[in-house]
């Protein structure tokens, strides 16, 4: 597809009618439109988006919904109407297409309003006269097949506004379509399957005469339901593969981080262990302090009184110890019992009675008549104190040693913790990566197990389908009508298998070659050590070698821009090449087309070297280049690119709301 011309009427600052013809010569294939900031370069780029896809990207503060020229809008009055129009003529597959989008504006309620835009499309074979209109319901589809909307960011490349167009959405279908696989894809859809009733195979199977043949119907139903299950399994497997790829990439990233931070991780673990040990030991120390104080308070008096006790015992060793008295009984106690008149055994104590005399006799063994019992009591007490003193010192010493040992431990651990703290300060917490890695591994295990289960189930489905197909074939091939339909089916299935195989081969080949092209172009522009890689969604990632591993590298704005250039340039270069499907001795050209590169401010923020490199590469890889460039940037690009310029234009800003475009000589 190449752009032939662009016609603009009253679109934003382009008041009145403006027409640009684009260079399409093999050598002089570059169209340059020069203009400084705010002269209308971005507006020109947006005319393509609006005409083809009915959207524009303007800054919020520039009244983006108002496409009618503001000078014209300000002159409108009740009843007046004005039209905005953009018309693109493009050439695609030897056919000239004219696409025109219009929007009518009118004055109402003191305000200018726009109606819904309308699009028309017509075509004619190159060189022929007349135009054939394309039906309204097919226009969007047709435009999308010529230039898919989700690739419009690439083809209408707004360098300053697009941060990363090659790494976001799944553009695989669009890229495959662009590179010539749509005819195969459509043929597969039209041939369809037994279960899709509106396809060739679906219709052929439904036209079989199965009436009255219950078993054949049942067999067909089983085939259909198993086929449906297979499709569900295929979808699930596809989704699982994507998830597994993503998790494996994440695992590799975490492995890399953890291997880099292995020593940090072990220090962080030791630091946590030390912290736990110090806390535990501090608790034990507190308990020991408590016990030490309690033991000191309980036995100190008797311990220090021991020498006095020894001396007292020495002094009393010759004293007569009386063991007839009741221990701790006093003379006053006896006097009280007698005064009460009843003994503790219950007998009345009547003067001169035996009981009275017996109690009175006790006084003989008690002080003051006798000191023997008191001495015995004293000796017993000293014996008790002595027993207590024997353990007191040992316990206190042992407790003190424990306290010293615990304090030493705490101090040693604290010193080690302080040293580790200095080493790991400012380092990332490796534990969170370990936990993430464990989670990723467990998820990968689950996903792989699920994948295995689905593969086994799919094999089971294949066996079922084969079995039921045999049953079905043997039952329905009875009538001659069925026989002919069966033959049609066999041919249709054979063709479908061939197209599917061709599609897969071409698709895989396209991805490999696109990756090669992107790297080739990337290395012409960027002189560093990075490689571009494409995944199944056709997203591009830049990889760099770290040790023996290739990992995704960070991307600066400049690098990202070079990557985007390389992607789009690779795409248009590959689209120029032929894709051939071989059927018998026939070679069928499925090729897409050469595509243009249309770029706003491609050299913005690029240094002189990159500007020169980009200027060399773009006209070589694309069959048509249309660039909106600032004059200051053009000074660097012109020496390299001038001989390829076939059409040059200059924007002239008259007012903030009015610019004109003039052809200019290089």
């Amino acid at each position: 597809m190449l752009m032939k011309s662009l016609y603009i009427k009253n679109f934003r600052q382009f008041k009145g009618e403006t027409t640009i013809e684009f260079a399409r010569d093999k050598v002089k294939n570059v169209t340059i439109i020069l203009g400084d900031n705010t002269f209308g370069k971005t507006t020109l780029l947006q005319t393509f988006n609006w005409c083809l896809y009915d959207f524009v990207v303007f800054d919020k503060d520039s009244n983006p919904d108002m496409l009618l020229n503001l000078e014209l809008a300000s002159q409108m009055h009740y009843g007046s109407r004005d039209i905005v129009e953009v018309r693109i003529i493009l050439i695609h597959k030897n056919t000239e297409y004219t696409i025109s989008r219009t929007q009518e504006y009118f004055w109402t309620e003191h305000k200018v309003r726009g109606e819904k835009s309308k699009v028309t499309m017509s075509y004619k074979p190159l060189g022929a006269d007349g135009q054939t209109d394309i039906r309204d319901q097919y226009i969007d589809k047709m435009i999308n097949e010529i230039l898919p909307r989700n690739l419009s960011n690439f083809f209408f490349f707004d360098t300053e506004r697009v941060r990363d167009v090659s790494n976001r959405q799944d553009v695989s279908e669009s890229v495959k379509g662009l590179l010539g696989l749509t005819a195969l894809d459509n043929a597969m859809k039209h041939l369809g399957s037994k279960t899709a009733k509106t396809t060739v195979l679906g219709k052929l199977y439904s036209s079989m005469d199965n009436e009255g043949n219950q078993k054949a119907t049942e067999a067909l139903e089983r085939i259909n339901s198993t086929q449906q299950r297979k499709e569900v399994i295929a979808e699930q497997l596809e989704s699982l593969k994507t998830q597994i790829t993503d998790y494996e990439a994440e695992k590799s990233r975490l492995d890399h981080i953890l291997s880099e931070g292995k020593s940090t991780a072990s220090l962080q673990e030791r630091s946590l262990a030390l912290e736990r040990m110090i806390n535990r030991e501090t608790d034990v120390l507190e308990q020991n302090y408590g016990k030490f104080v309690r033991e000191f308070n309980g036995g100190t008096v008797t311990f220090f009184a021991k020498p006095l006790m020894i001396r007292a015992l020495d002094f009393m060793k010759d004293a007569k110890v009386d063991d007839k008295g009741i221990k701790d009984m006093t003379a006053q106690s006896i006097a009280d019992i007698i005064k009460r008149g009843r003994c503790i055994c219950g007998h009345d104590l009547v003067e001169d009675s035996d009981e009275y005399e017996t109690v009175l006799k006790e006084l003989d063994f008690l002080p003051p008549q006798s000191i023997g019992t008191s001495i015995r009591n004293f000796k017993d007490k000293i014996a008790t104190y002595d027993a207590t003193n024997r353990n007191y010192f040992t316990n206190l010493k042992s407790r003190y040693e424990d306290i010293l040992r615990i304090k030493t431990n705490i101090q040693e651990w604290q010193d080690e913790a302080d040293e580790i703290k200095g080493k790991i300060e400012g380092k990332e917490d490796m534990k969170k990566y370990s936990l993430k890695l464990a989670d990723v591994k467990s998820r990968l295990k689950e996903l792989n197990e699920k994948k295995e289960r689905l593969i086994r189930e799919d094999e089971g489905c294949n066996n079922d389908i084969e079995r039921f197909q045999k049953v079905y074939d043997s039952l329905v091939a009875v009538s001659s009508k069925n026989k002919s339909i069966m033959i049609y089916i066999r041919y249709a299935e054979e063709i479908l298998a061939w197209i599917t195989k061709t599609y897969k081969e071409k698709e895989s080949d396209i991805r490999e070659r696109l990756e090669e092209k992107i790297n080739e172009i990337f290395n012409k522009i960027y002189h560093g050590h990075r490689r571009a890689s494409i995944n199944e969604k056709y997203n591009v990632t830049l990889l760099t070698m770290v040790g023996e591993k290739e990992i995704a590298s960070g991307e600066s704005e400049g690098l990202n821009r070079v990557k985007n250039f390389a992607f789009i340039a690779g795409l248009v270069e590959l689209a120029k090449e032929k894709i051939v499907a071989i059927a018998g001795e026939n070679k069928m050209d499925l090729s897409s087309e050469p595509y243009p590169l249309i770029m706003d401010a491609p050299f913005s923020n690029a240094d002189a070297t990159h500007t020169t490199n980009i200027s060399k590469v773009l006209p070589e890889v694309a069959e048509q280049v249309i660039m909106f460039v600032m004059e200051k940037d053009w000074r660097y690009a012109e020496p390299v690119m001038a001989y390829r310029v076939g059409s040059q234009w200059m924007l002239d800003k008259k007012t903030d709301t009015y610019s004109i475009l003039k052809r200019s000589n290089s």
Binding site: H92, K93, T95, Y123, T132, I134, R135, Y138, K141, M142, E145, T182, A183, L184, N186, A187, H190, L191, G192, T198, T199, V200, K203, L204, D473, S474, V476, A477, K483, M486, I487, Y488, R490, Y491, A492, E494, I495, W498, I499, A581, A583, G584, E585, N586, M588, L590
Partner: protein
């Protein structure tokens, strides 16, 4: 249906069908003259017409 199963498909017929179907798809990509249903019918007709030919 063993006789059909065992019968080899004719390569000339098969190749002609493949070529005609893909040419039809390519042409309709350019013009969108035919709807989906019309394309399905046209492909079915390519297959049945081709099998009527004797080479």
């Amino acid at each position: 249906m063993p006789e059909i199963e065992n019968k080899l498909l004719d390569e000339k017929h098969l190749t002609a069908m493949k070529v005609n179907i893909l040419e039809l798809e390519k042409e309709n990509l350019k013009t969108r003259d035919k709807t989906n249903d019309e394309m399905v019918e046209a492909i079915r007709k390519i297959i049945s017409d081709e099998l009527k030919k004797n080479y």
